[in-house]
């Protein structure tokens, strides 16, 4: 089960930038390739009203908006150095809006322990042809492009790889983020007893299967939770009926599934911002877009200023 996020709306790219392959430049948007859990339980009060998470200043006992919050790094007891997002972006290497593919490695050479999480890549304006060219070449060669790049105040090591014509960025862990068996202090495996090895091997052969069944990865905790939920819906116990047909609240646009956005973004020939005019976006959506584009000063911008700077950054 997962804690719910803030209000949901059209999924926005996590990052927008450029992939460089030699002198070929390819604008891309990165979307998370992992969705939330299938079963979401919201925090509600006894009337079934969904509660919202808010930041709170314990000293002033007041609820804070996003603009009233800043990041701080602890340097001493009760002392933080305040760091603005724009400062973190400002010290990024010059080409930080670019993933420069200078090295290609066999996908099968990368140990599974390196893979941290994945993003799907969709082509930006004018990027469809180089996208297809890169995807096809990498897939035919069985290679992944490996590079580091900076996104939102962190440096990432990524392997860009291609599967069925779709590019994916796999974020890899840095070598110094991983411990070897020796780091952990594991002794070298002892000389095994041959009879025991034979016994184990026999058990392994008895449980042999050829393929991974997606069904085997369905979360049993979620599954178990559905039983009482279905039972309550059947009897009507602990079920809150909606007072009226629920109108979307302000700032809560219609929910569009990540898959729908990906289909649209992969399918189109030219960028159309999901078919919606920036004017119709909520401030929250504009802010997320500005964050993906790492536009400086965005936290203090008005809606009009956000629209203006997004248009400038994307050249539309």
């Amino acid at each position: 089960m997962a804690e719910d996020e803030e209000e949901s709306y059209v999924p926005q790219p996590f990052w927008s930038g450029t992939i460089a392959f030699g002198l070929v430049s390819l604008p891309v948007d990165l979307y998370v390739a992992h969705r939330g859990r299938a079963l979401t339980l919201h925090r509600v009060d006894e009337d079934g009203t969904q509660l919202r998470r808010r930041y709170f200043c314990p000293r002033d006992e007041e609820i804070l908006s996003k603009d009233e919050i800043v990041r701080g790094h602890p340097v001493a007891e009760d002392r933080h150095v305040v760091v603005e997002d724009e400062e973190l972006e400002g010290i990024a290497p010059k080409k930080s809006r670019e993933i420069d593919l200078r090295r290609f490695v066999a996908v099968s050479d990368i140990d599974p322990m390196y893979f941290e999480r994945a993003y799907l890549l969709t082509p930006g304006e004018g990027g469809v042809k180089p996208y297809r060219l890169l995807a096809r070449t990498m897939e035919e060669e069985g290679l992944a492009g490996v590079a580091t790049f900076v996104m939102r105040g962190n440096e990432y090591l990524v392997a860009i790889l291609s599967e069925k014509g779709i590019l994916r960025a796999e974020v890899l862990r840095f070598a110094d983020e991983l411990r070897s068996p020796a780091d952990v202090g594991l002794p070298e495996p002892a000389e095994p007893d041959r009879d025991e090895v034979r016994r184990f091997t026999k058990e392994i052969r008895g449980l042999q299967e050829d393929e991974l069944d997606r069904e085997d990865l369905i979360d049993p905790d979620d599954r178990r939770l559905m039983d009482p939920i279905r039972e309550k819906l059947r009897t009507g116990k602990d079920v809150v009926e909606p007072a009226s047909r629920r109108e979307p609240e302000e700032g809560e646009a219609e929910v569009i599934d990540l898959m729908e956005v990906l289909k649209k973004r992969l399918g189109r020939e030219s960028r159309d911002e999901g078919g919606r005019d920036l004017q119709a976006w909520t401030r929250e959506e504009l802010y997320d877009r500005a964050r993906a584009l790492e536009i400086p000063g965005r936290s203090r911008m008005t809606k009009a200023e956000l629209i203006d700077s997004i248009e400038k950054a994307t050249g539309s």
Binding site: T18, G22, L23, S25, P27, L41, H42, R43, V44, D45, E46, L51, R52, R53, R59, R71, H73, P74, H80, V82, E87, G90, R97, R103, M113, G124, Y131, T137, E141, T148, L172, A175, E177, R179, P181, V184, L186, P187, A190, P192, D193, E196, I204, R205, L207, E209, D210, E215, D216, L217, D221, R224, P228, L233, V239, P242, R246, M259, I295, A313
Partner: protein, 259 residues
């Protein structure tokens, strides 16, 4: 580095076999951590739950969990019911299938753990040898701290490793997506792209990549701690290549002249 502390103890079970193990995280968090502060007075913020209709803070102890159906009904569950639905505690890391290496695609991998022997090193060594001989990896299930995990039990540098796997619902099914389409790709461009990629091919050497930005961030923090101000400049984004063929040819030339 001093030996790490085990985070959990369990028993790998398959058929009649039982191998006691200790789990160690194979990941070390090295990110620079930030706290969120109130901009005005630099007090670290906390999170509260608020009723959006009244703007009132609701204490955690008074909250319930709600499951919302598609038609807008909300099913309420109280903390006691949820506690009863928690998975049974168990030490078993149950392997229910052994798959050929590679059958579990890297999209599923979440977090790696080293497994060390817990007591008897003989059974542990025998399991390593048996995995080596069969060339297989185990598909595991276990319950750790009130949560059920799936994992891949495999060999890593002759030692046992367990990598947790993401639940099925969390991984976007790529098969359901269509790749970007268009006219047939130009043969000459394709062959140039292959040649360029061939020149840039090498062995994967993870030690070659360093998180240099982490060091810059720490440096920035140190400077700011001394009260220095920091200038910020926006970073431009390069335009897409219009002439693919020319870009490829020039890249290839540049690469070849490097040797």
């Amino acid at each position: 580095m001093s030996p790490a502390r085990a985070i959990w103890k369990g028993v790998v079970c398959f058929g009649e076999a039982r191998v006691p193990v200790k789990l160690y995280s194979a990941v070390e968090d090295r990110r620079v951590h930030f706290r969120l502060l109130h901009r005005e007075d630099h007090v670290p913020v906390s999170q509260v739950l608020v009723n959006p209709k009244t703007d009132e803070v609701v204490p955690y102890a008074e909250t319930l969990r709600g499951y919302r159906t598609e038609d807008g009904r909300v099913v309420l569950l109280d903390p006691q019911e949820l506690a009863e639905l928690a998975p049974e505690p168990s030490r078993d890391i149950r392997i229910h299938a052994f798959l050929p290496l590679g059958a579990i695609d890297h999209r599923w991998f979440a977090r790696p753990y080293h497994l060390g022997p817990d007591g008897d090193p003989g059974a542990h060594a025998a399991l390593c040898a048996a995995l080596e001989e069969t060339g297989r990896e185990g598909l595991a299930r276990w319950t750790m701290r009130n949560k059920t995990y799936a994992g891949a039990l495999r060999l890593h540098q002759r030692h046992l490793m367990l990598i947790s796997l993401r639940p099925a619902e969390e991984v976007v099914p790529v098969d359901a997506l269509e790749p970007p389409g268009g006219p047939e790709l130009d043969r000459k461009e394709l062959s140039l792209a292959h040649r360029l990629m061939g020149l840039l091919e090498e062995e994967f050497d993870p030690s070659r990549y360093r998180d240099e930005y982490r060091e810059r961030v720490l440096e920035l923090i140190a400077r700011k701690a001394k009260g220095e101000s920091v200038e910020v400049e926006p970073v431009p984004r390069p335009p897409p290549s219009e002439d693919l063929m020319r870009a490829l040819e020039e890249s290839l030339e540049a690469e070849q002249s490097h040797g």
